[in-house]
């Protein structure tokens, strides 16, 4: 049973004006099978948390620890973290011209699984996974994310989630920029994977609307670089009604309209 333990995590980012501390002591434990929603206003450091865990070179860990089943994640390279079972569905997936989606998926699956998947099974597996997410098979031959719409990119992130089968999945604003249909398809994809595995999910979002599709076990309010309040699903309802005013001293809605 996988456990991700984040203890007193402090993270800085280098800017033109020198290092700026974004995360100011984050404590969070995510166990297998649990879904934690991280909700917070813009600029509170939610994305920094996800990138820091995944190992983006722009972010510097100044203190604290991140352990996956007791192993020190911060000592691992980016790819080692992924192979250890961490997955980050990115808010802004990167375009890689000239590398086909099918080549990319197979290369990634080979790396994460430790051996090349048998071609016949693999083709079938990818085909089904794409169909489940309403992805046109023609995308397999297109370059990774190149020219994809926002919704298409997010579907492909969730496609990778299903194929790479991580122990811990971090979904960074996967709902942003999605219309109602796309949000439903993407959420169903996440739920399908949750249903088929014991994955622990960190669901980062600004808005409560994705929580209508993916039910969290825990809700954490993120403000000013740390967790300001934790609770159950009822905390999301409260945010829906009151917004983030209590945490940041000004009004910022957590619901749309």
């Amino acid at each position: 049973m996988a456990t991700l333990e984040i203890k007193d995590l402090h993270v800085s980012v280098n800017t033109e004006d020198g290092a700026k501390e974004i995360l100011k002591g984050v404590d969070l434990t995510i166990k297998a099978g649990e879904t934690h929603a991280i909700m917070g206003p813009n600029g509170s450091g939610k994305s920094t948390l996800s990138y820091a865990i995944a190992g983006h070179p722009k972010y510097e860990i100044t203190s604290g620890s991140v352990l996956l089943d007791g192993e020190d994640v911060l000592e691992m390279t980016v790819d080692e973290r992924a192979r250890a079972g961490l997955f980050l569905a990115m808010q802004y997936p990167v375009e890689v011209p000239g590398v086909s989606m099918s080549n990319f998926l197979r290369t990634a699956a080979t790396a994460v699984r430790g051996e090349a998947p048998k071609l016949r099974h693999w083709v079938k597996e990818v085909k089904e996974a794409m169909s489940d997410l309403d992805i046109d098979p023609a995308f397999a031959e297109r370059s990774v994310n190149e020219g994809f719409s926002g919704g298409e990119k997010k579907r492909h992130e969730i496609l990778q989630l299903g194929l790479l089968k991580p122990k811990i999945a971090i979904l960074d604003e996967t709902d942003s920029g999605l219309d109602v249909d796309a949000l439903r398809v993407v959420s169903e994809g996440v739920n399908r994977y949750k249903g088929s595995s014991e994955v622990g999910v960190m669901l980062i979002t600004h808005y409560t609307r994705i929580l209508k599709y993916i039910s969290p076990d825990f809700v954490h309010v993120f403000a000013a670089g740390r967790i300001a309040e934790s609770g159950g699903p009822e905390l999301a309802d409260k945010l829906e009604a009151e917004g983030y005013v209590k945490y940041i001293g000004k009004q910022e809605a957590a619901s749309i309209g």
Partner: protein, 391 residues
């Protein structure tokens, strides 16, 4: 990723531009078969300013031939291969030397190789292997490829070996012919190669010219395309990979003097290692008579390590407003760390991720080469380049 891009469309007025654009028009560029008509270049001249003259083995300064390059032709059925002596009237018909080294090669070659593709017929690929004269030796050569009217075929020119070699390579593409050329420069580390390619396209002729430059100390290639009839279509593709200390220079010139012709130039290069240097100069001239011209040129460079330098200068001169379209783009960028992060975040080890990105960068060119056996070899060669530095 630090990228500078200039994408521009031109149409209505006559003008030229590009960083360091020549003061004079390309139309005034001097050409001659007489080596003495050219002054010995010192390196400050516009056409030589990027070239390391000291490393040219005096090819520009009267170096005499001390050896010969070996030319072996594996001809497809129906393709004629001959050797021709100086004075053969076919030689020199595709173009005139445009710099002193090309004129020197014209004056100094002992025997030309003439390859003729039969007209109104499709032939299998023909391979011409040119092996340098050996380390410390100097040689000059001449190659003439003639695709007769409505011929269709592929010619691969494979350069390898050591030494200094200068040559003129002619392509006469007859009316309605389709000629595909792949010129591979896979020289040994010491080699110096200065080569002028001259292509003359007939009416409705299609010419696809791919240059692949990987090995050699200094390689300088100057492909020139001219048209003699309407409907000519030239595609100039280039792929180069410079390692530490290498100087790889490509100067393309498409001379649109006839109406309703087309040209498309796409060159892509990668650089790695201290003092790896690449130069791409893309000249396109649309003369007043060349109404209905359609042209585009693009150069992209991927700098993989510190200490490497890519120069990229597109020059587009337009003397008529009555054209279909004309444009150019040039960009040189560092390796994109975000791409690397994304691939690694999916479990792909860094080294493999780098290769994926570089392979992806060249993919467009490799796809267009259209000669499967060449493509496979080049993919392997690019892999080897990447392994060399452990990128």
């Amino acid at each position: 990723m630090a990228v500078t891009t200039e994408d521009q469309q031109h149409g209505l007025t006559a003008h030229s531009h590009g960083a360091g654009a020549p003061v004079t028009s390309r139309a005034d560029h001097f050409t001659s078969f007489d080596v003495n008509a050219f002054e010995v270049p010192g390196g400050r001249e516009e056409i030589w300013r990027f070239t390391p003259m000291k490393r040219l083995a005096n090819l520009h300064n009267g170096a005499e031939a001390t050896g010969t390059a070996t030319v072996e032709v594996t001809a497809a059925e129906g393709v004629a291969v001959e050797t021709a002596a100086r004075g053969d009237e076919r030689l020199g018909t595709a173009g005139t030397p445009g710099d002193r080294v090309a004129a020197q090669a014209w004056s100094s070659f002992t025997e030309a190789t003439v390859v003729t593709l039969p007209g109104d017929a499709k032939s299998e690929p023909t391979t011409i292997t040119v092996t340098g004269p050996g380390a410390g030796q100097v040689a000059y050569g001449h190659l003439h490829v003639h695709a007769k009217p409505f011929a269709e075929g592929v010619v691969v020119i494979d350069h390898r070996g050591s030494g200094a070699y200068a040559d003129n390579v002619e392509f006469v593409v007859g009316d309605g012919a389709h000629l595909t050329v792949v010129a591979i420069q896979d020289w040994a580390d010491d080699a110096v190669h200065v080569s002028a390619h001259h292509a003359k396209l007939g009416r409705d002729a299609t010419f696809k010219h791919t240059v692949v430059t990987l090995g050699g100390d200094v390689v300088r290639l100057t492909p020139v395309v001219t048209y003699t009839g309407r409907g000519g279509d030239a595609e100039l593709l280039g792929l180069y990979f410079a390692d530490a200390g290498q100087h790889l220079e490509h100067r393309t010139f498409v001379d649109h003097a006839v109406s309703n012709c087309r040209s498309n130039v796409v060159y892509k290069g990668a650089l790695q290692g201290e003092d790896a240097h690449t130069v791409w100069i893309g000249d396109v001239l649309i003369r007043a008579a060349a109404e209905g011209t359609e042209t585009f040129e693009l150069n992209r460079n991927l700098v993989l390590t510190d200490g490497a330098r890519a120069d990229s200068v597109p020059n587009l001169e337009i003397e008529t407003g009555e054209i279909e379209g004309a444009g150019h783009a040039s960009a040189t960028g560092r390796f994109d760390d975000e791409q690397l992060f994304y691939l690694q975040a999916r479990g792909i080890p860094e080294e493999q991720a780098r290769r994926l990105v570089v392979r992806g960068f060249f993919h467009e060119i490799l796809l267009k080469i259209g000669v499967p056996e060449v493509r496979e070899r080049l993919e392997a060669a690019i892999e080897a380049e990447l392994e060399a530095v452990g990128a």
